[in-house]
Symmetry: C2
Subunit: 241 residues, 2 copies
Amino acid sequence: MLYTSKENNKIKYIKKLNYKKYRDEFNEFFIEGEHLVEEAYKNGVLKELLLEKNSNFNLNITTNYATNSILKYISSLDNPSSVIGICNKIKEKKIGEKILILDNIQDPGNLGTIIRSAVAFNIDTIVLSFNCVDIYNPKVLRATQGMIFNINIIQKNIKEFILELKEEGYKIYGTKVNGGNSLKNVEKPEKFAIIMGNEGRGVSSEILNLCSDYIYIDMNSKCESLNVAIATSIILYELDK
Amino acid sequence: MLYTSKENNKIKYIKKLNYKKYRDEFNEFFIEGEHLVEEAYKNGVLKELLLEKNSNFNLNITTNYATNSILKYISSLDNPSSVIGICNKIKEKKIGEKILILDNIQDPGNLGTIIRSAVAFNIDTIVLSFNCVDIYNPKVLRATQGMIFNINIIQKNIKEFILELKEEGYKIYGTKVNGGNSLKNVEKPEKFAIIMGNEGRGVSSEILNLCSDYIYIDMNSKCESLNVAIATSIILYELDK
């Protein structure tokens, strides 16, 4: 099928997936670009393809076509890809032993980058508070570089979740500039969760008070803090050693 | 002085500083927000202030005022700050012993974040290839969180520069997925330079071949690579230990 009109119901449907409201309603999302689409296909969440007219992308999946102007209409990119994939949302799985908890992360680039680093450093599960930016936001998806399909991501009331983890013997790490242990000397327990928080305000104090251990990253005193994706990645790198 | 018209020469001048061409011509740039302005003031590069009408910001510096719509006109932000600082470009200084070389970094957020991390982990000098994004780009400046004023940043023909460093006994680190040493076991010499490269293509092979040592970051094989700001920051963290 070749779509040429913005008024077509299918095109209207995909366009709506730019918004969280509709992603939640339809339980689907879309991705752009060959690499992301291949990763989605490998991981069994790709539902169908929308390709630019006359282009080719050989996957054993329902494939439709659209004009360049339709792809531009749908896309969130200045230079849209010729490949769009419509996907089923990823199913939540059981948590593992190495957990990253994110409290109110707002920047899509930060969240996507953190997801990518979490896969690199062998985190089993990412747990998001309900006020984090949506993982199916196109900017988040792009920043994950397809790694979103390689990790379990769930949403929880993180306060209740931390209390459950503590009962099950997880060490709960928070970050604190004063009164913590240097990351260099951190223990590497089998079961742990590390909590990282909002770009401006950090982890909320109510949540931070639930931690069992606090760590800090040694740095030059001229620098008050690191970008949250950077700090998270350095901690995950060290805990994975 | 209160500016109310976009046609005013002063306002036209500041607006032009959104573009590299004019920043280079006038040898000035502008910053937005109290934190960046304070950092610029502390470091002696703040030349004058432009505040929103009826707002206050007490610094011993030439201060003018403008209407909210004028600030919106100048700003690169959706929600402009009530504080704009016009600055002289930062003077280049002599290089130190811990150097970060960046080859063709294109994303302003990445460059700004790298600058912030370089200050945190005690890099003396950042050396940029001529094709990197401009450090005075408003998005770069914001991502540095003011740390741009706390580090020496210079532009060079990096090929020639690396050859000079080698003659002066610097160890030159590049990154390589295969055939390098794990970052975990990296030597921490007194004088070193680490070269990091473009988001998509990495460091150009001509430059990479000039390195004396190659390192890689251990990670899960599902993840092909890290975001360049993340990889750079992890390496700087480890070299700073």
